[in-house]
Amino acid sequence: MAGAGGGSNDVQWCFSQVKGAIDDDVAEADIISTVEFNHSGELLATGDKGGRVVIFQQEIENKSQPQCRSEYNVYSTFQSHEPEFDYLKSLEIEEKINKIRWLPQKNAAQFLLSTNDKTIKLWKISERDKRPEGYNLKEEDGRYIDPNTVTALRLSRNEYCTHQQKSEDGAGPADKNKEGQFDKIQVPVFRPMDLMVEASPRRVFANAHTYHINSISINSDHETYLSADDLRINLWHQEITDRSFNIVDIKPANMEELTEVITAAEFHPHQCNTFVYSSSKGTIRLCDMRASALCDTHSKLFEEPEDPSNRSFFSEIISSISDVKFSHNGRYMMTRDYLSVKIWDLNMESRPVETYQVHEYLRSKLCSLYENDCIFDKFECCWNGNDSVVMTGSYHNFFRMFDRGQRRDVTLEASREGSKPQQVLKPRKVCADGKRKKDEISVDSLDFNKKILHTAWHPQDNVIAVATTNNLYIFQDKVN
């Protein structure tokens, strides 16, 4: 259960569910662009390129079948963003959902922030399972009754009447007076109805970013959040939509001097004044908002000196950090660049404390990966609930887990072939050299169109959500 089997080799991962179309012909709008569990793990949200958000809910565990853990079923779906057009620059603004972040739950409703390139929206997801019934505002012919004729308000406890149920002789509750006019209004009562999940946009935070928003992060103060685009980071209050504070601006006066862009940003999970942002040059800057209003000057700069033996033309491109995530305990942060995952201790800026190679066999293939643009893929990474294991995606629908304590790693595959219920996932291996063993895959036969960019780990349990191009796989550890 939670965290006890944190080791990736102690845990046997097995298939639970897969969502999405089976056919290989992928519609562009169905490409999954973000996956996020909420704080309790009960809800799982996905965003896609068509601007839609689908939320899955974990059903209450089925006591009669202890083997299979509870499943995620569709709870709500809504259109979050629509394509827009920037007339000034003649550019389309894609509706692709770049990030979804859940707000901590404060009442019965759930709130999440979803963002595309330009606009952030706060959505309220609430349930409705009752509706008012028993209106008798109309006469038989469908016209509304004349309010001037109404003389009384009738409360009915157990039953409601429509105008058809009036008894003509007045024996039952009658709404009509002697002239045959309705003069009593029935107070409607709430009746249970089929559960309906409503999604309504509560706030729209727009017009604050000239460049493309790549990250949003909710502060631990439960009041503010940040949004980061390529050159600027803005601080918002969740209630205020018409203004935001700019806290980081790396745009130079002369655009010719621009050398790096912001690739990701995140607030510290516990310290509401601290946030980090990563750059395309492989550096991470930690900023303290107490130091100054504009945090252009970093408080800490995390940068690993480059290994001169590995230097190549592509060094700068593959050092670009695509994702940065704080650990749950707030002591470490993890960064993902093209070939590796690095774990940094926040107290040590000079180098990471741990480095894991995700797919080192690609280092010799960088040239062809540059040709097909794969070198620019932005992989995400995630921690498990107790920060003992980290996970990230790779190509050929492989994803990798690294157990920090046991110094072990495993490669698993999200595919339809391994999709029988409760089927245990078999570890996969890629062989870099020519001597290919049985069940191994050679580097040249990897499918670079099948990539896992987005993964998420349940905050407490060993349940993971892995997104291939247009399918969402849910795996859990084997429950014995």
Binding site: M193, M196, D242
Partner: protein, 302 residues
């Protein structure tokens, strides 16, 4: 930020030459455009292509860069490119506006000197003209300075509050379809008056079903297998064979309309005024004044 851009405009000599192949070209290249080719010395010749992963599609057919050398298609270079081109765009727009304003001031000058407006005989027009231009000279001055005061279109247009996305979107987990906010399935008859014309080329005009969600799959543990133990009070006629396709969704106002208004008004209005007005009856329900969009003010982060 706008100040800086104006300075950039002043520095660059705004003369352009049209090449024989029809591409606009600067007579003296701005430094930033030259700078783009610094990193491209090692690349073989290739036409610049926009990144597959790029999140905006640069859609200007006349903006093929003059240099055929391939530039690394990172976000960094994309921004540099866009900023450079923007300067050219703004410059072109600025020239156009200056010319238009000069034409305007010329035509006004002519009409004022010829004494045209007394002929118009429109009292309010005269008063308006008198109010804005004390004398001919003053008007000329204001006309020549007007290009600087022309307002640009806001960067990202605020979404129209009449769009369906502004309203609540309701989903029924047990039925696995989108429903109207009063609990009934949407009417299977689409109303032509409620379609929103879209400016972009996206074919959607309302929510299409996500492939992750409520679509039946063979051989997969389906959400619908376990029957929900919840009461259902909807009208069964709505649920039968005509489950509407998502394109037929109309937006129903939330919470203020009693459920049988839908049926009642549809039939009554429809019988008297014909089908296109069917949805008008629904829309007469007082729209939720709690619009989710607070007034948006354009502001720049600086």
């Amino acid at each position: 930020m706008s100040k800086q851009e104006k300075m950039e405009l002043d520095l660059v000599i705004p003369s352009t030459l049209v090449q024989s192949d029809g591409h606009l070209r600067r007579s003296n290249s701005a430094p930033m455009i030259n700078g783009l080719s610094d990193n491209s010395q090692v690349f073989h010749r290739e036409i610049l292509r926009s990144r597959r992963n790029s999140t905006t599609v640069v859609n200007r057919p006349n903006m093929v860069p003059s240099s055929p050398i391939r530039v690394p298609s990172t976000r960094l270079h994309q921004i540099k490119r866009e900023e450079g081109v923007d300067v050219m765009n703004r410059e072109t727009a600025h020239e156009r506006e200056v010319q238009a304003a000069m034409q305007m001031s010329q035509s006004w000058e002519e009409s004022l000197s010829l004494g045209v407006w007394p002929i118009l005989g429109h009292q309010s027009l005269k008063n308006r003209i008198r109010g804005t231009a004390v004398s001919d000279n003053d008007f000329e001055k204001s006309a020549s300075s007007s290009p600087k005061r022309i307002d640009f279109v806001p960067v990202s247009p605020a979404p129209s509050p009449t769009r369906g996305i502004g309203k609540k979107q309701c989903f029924s987990p047990s039925l696995q379809i989108l429903v109207s906010s009063n609990g009934l399935s949407p009417s299977p008859i689409p109303s032509p008056t409620r379609r929103f014309s879209r400016r972009s080329q996206s074919p959607i005009n309302c929510i299409r079903p996500s492939i992750l969600g409520p679509i039946k799959r063979k051989g997969e543990m389906m959400e619908m297998e376990s029957q929900p133990k919840r009461l259902f009070h909807g009208t069964t006629t709505m649920l039968s064979s005509d489950l509407p396709t998502p394109q037929q969704l109309t937006d129903f106002n939330s919470c203020l309309c009693p459920p049988d208004v839908l049926d009642g008004s549809l039939s009554s209005v429809g019988s008297s005024t014909g089908s296109p007005a069917k949805m008008e009856g629904v829309s007469e329900c007082p729209s939720s004044s709690n619009s989710p969009f607070t007034p948006l003010h354009d502001h720049s982060p600086k």
